[in-house]
């Protein structure tokens, strides 16, 4: 597949279950080599979308193409070009790690002559060479997940789909997995498509689409989306706030407000602004820059939190998120 073409192309996708439209007129495209995330709360339509893209579910309306193949017209070609990591574990824990890989090679038609090399390479890559011939029953959740990632890549897919890939994993395993995914993207020009409801995970994506109640709400890089959530805010505490305020108005063209924390004002590019503060004539005691988080962006765009139980206390939550971010 030539570079620059779309690895995933979705146009007007609808999937109904009875009266409910789980996916409601969704369109997006993912360029080759990108890490694309579908961000939304549970039940937003993420899994339904991924199931349609992986030919496990038929769309009610609209079209979807993966690696150039239509999911309805050419499901076999789509399946050959994708790797899939499911939300729930899907290894056979009565078999060994190597046996799980072997079965994958057999059902995905990996050429016989290459199997051994690819399996050895995969096991080495995920650091399970020593455990290769142990039954997976004894494996930890993280080890199983690693094997699933390696397994999904054995047949050299062009697009890797991950449905909530790191849910239930400890932070360390989560980080390690993301390192591997970034490495793969660099090395193989692999397109990675994932669904998530974790903001930290979404931060890893090149581009995000926010989905809520089956509808696509917004699309852009994490930075762009955060930018849409509102401005960045600087809080200053100085030896002489009055003088500082005057200085800010005249030399920096910002409109500071006096609060109990000092002077607060909005800027468009926080880091640049802070760099320019180098020769500020008033002694600075405390300085902080608050950037909108993805959570802020999500709330601004959808009107509620990604975690439904906290949606009612939106403002409290927003403050909490900011505090956490600052600390």
């Amino acid at each position: 597949m030539p570079l620059g073409t779309s690895a995933v192309e979705v146009r007007g996708l609808v999937r109904r279950f009875g009266d409910l439209a789980a996916v409601d007129d969704v369109s997006f495209s993912v360029p080759t080599g990108q890490i694309f995330g579908l961000l939304g709360p549970n039940g937003a339509g993420k899994s339904t979308t991924i199931k349609i893209l992986c030919t496990l579910l038929q769309p009610s309306e609209g079209t979807a193409r993966v690696a150039g193949h239509d999911v309805v017209a050419a499901p076999a070609a789509v399946r050959r070009s994708l790797g899939l990591i499911f939300q729930d574990p899907s290894v056979d824990d009565r078999l060994t790690a190597r046996e799980n890989l072997k079965i994958h090679c057999m059902i995905y038609g990996v050429p016989r002559s290459e199997r051994r090399a690819r399996m050895d390479e995969a096991l080495a890559w995920i650091g399970l060479t020593a455990e290769a011939d142990q039954r997976m029953r004894t494996f930890s959740g993280g080890m199983r997940r690693r094997l699933e990632v390696a397994r999904a890549l054995l047949h050299r897919p062009r697009v890797l789909f991950l449905d909530e890939p790191t849910s239930g994993l400890d932070p360390q395993t989560r980080r390690a997995m993301w390192e591997r995914l970034h490495e793969l993207r660099e090395r193989e020009q692999l397109t990675i498509f994932l669904t998530t409801h974790y903001m930290e995970e979404a931060e890893n994506c090149d581009r995000l689409a926010i989905i809520d109640h089956g509808k696509l709400i917004a699309e852009g890089s994490p930075e762009e989306l955060k930018g849409r959530a509102g401005e960045e805010r600087v809080t200053l505490s100085t030896a002489d706030d009055e003088k500082a305020a005057k200085e800010l108005r005249t030399r920096f063209a910002v409109e500071p407000q006096t609060t109990d924390r000092g002077l607060e004002f909005a800027v468009s590019h926080g880091e640049e602004f802070l760099a320019r503060l180098g020769h500020f004539p008033v002694e600075l005691r405390r300085l902080s820059l608050q950037k909108p988080t993805l959570e802020d962006a999500f709330i601004a765009l959808t009107g509620h939190s990604i975690r439904p139980d906290e949606a009612s206390n939106r403002d409290v939550l927003r403050r909490m998120v900011r505090t956490r971010r600052r600390s």
Partner: protein, 248 residues
């Protein structure tokens, strides 16, 4: 080519799993022994059968049917496990057809079940039954066809069941009636009318009857009818499994 290998992959997996499952292997040994020794010996002291057949010998065909019925159904129904523990998804999204998946699963069920059925054959000398080559191979043939039918039936039921808890229901309302009304436990010639009808409707009856032919015991139907019904039953189950699994 790839489809064949994929079917074999699924079969191979089930064989490996069976070989590692001590509980299932122990059960496969214990079940026919229990039936042949306890049931057979226990009843042979008080039951007098027409034609002077020893009950221990009479119940031999029943013990084989028992092993095959439970074994085959259980293997087919393991699809529910695969669904619950996620492995089925990995298979469903592979670039292979549904037909391949059903055939792979049915084939593995058949092989595992044939092994279980044949264990019963090995115990024949324990009850004083000496099988010649001919009888052995004829029984083996019946076991193969009946195993195929029951594994496919297990797949059929698996497509209709959401959780594994349903297996208890299956065993009570499907396996038991099929077994008790098959002529394996008691002779079926002099049953009341309604029961005789159920026996004749039950395809397993014809498999048991075929085994009686092989064992040289009194039988009810001709070999031709027995074999046709048994093959038809297996074919119908495989066809039904293919049709219903397509919707998975």
């Amino acid at each position: 080519m790839n489809e064949l290998e994929a079917a074999w992959a699924l079969t191979w997996r089930d064989l490996v799993r069976f070989a590692r499952d001590r509980g299932q292997i122990t059960g496969a040994f214990a079940r026919p022994l229990l039936w042949l020794i306890f049931m057979g010996k226990g009843l042979s002291t008080s039951v007098r059968l027409a034609g002077g057949v020893d009950y221990q010998h009479f119940v031999f065909a029943g013990a084989i049917a028992m092993a095959v019925l439970f074994g085959g159904m259980f293997q087919g129904v393991t699809i529910i496990w695969d669904r619950e523990f996620g492995f089925l998804k990995e298979v469903l999204v592979a670039p292979i057809s549904r037909v391949t998946i059903v055939l792979g699963k049915t084939l593995s069920g058949t092989v595992v079940t044939v092994v279980q059925g044949c264990l019963t054959l090995i115990f024949a000398p324990l009850v004083g039954l000496h099988l010649g080559f001919g009888a052995f191979f004829a029984l083996f043939g019946v076991i193969v066809i009946l195993s195929l039918a029951m594994s496919a039936m297990g797949v059929v039921l698996a497509t209709r069941m959401q959780t594994f808890e349903g297996f208890g229901v299956i065993s009570n309302f499907v396996i038991m009636p099929l077994y008790f009304l098959s002529g394996g436990v008691f002779p079926v010639e002099r049953l009341p009318g309604w029961m005789a009808i159920l026996v004749r409707v039950n395809p397993v009856t014809y498999g048991v009857d075929l085994m009686r032919h092989a064992l040289g015991q009194p039988s009810v139907f001709g070999v031709g009818l027995d074999l046709s019904v048994l093959l038809g039953f297996a074919g119908a189950m495989v066809a039904l499994a293919l049709t219903w699994f397509r919707r998975e």
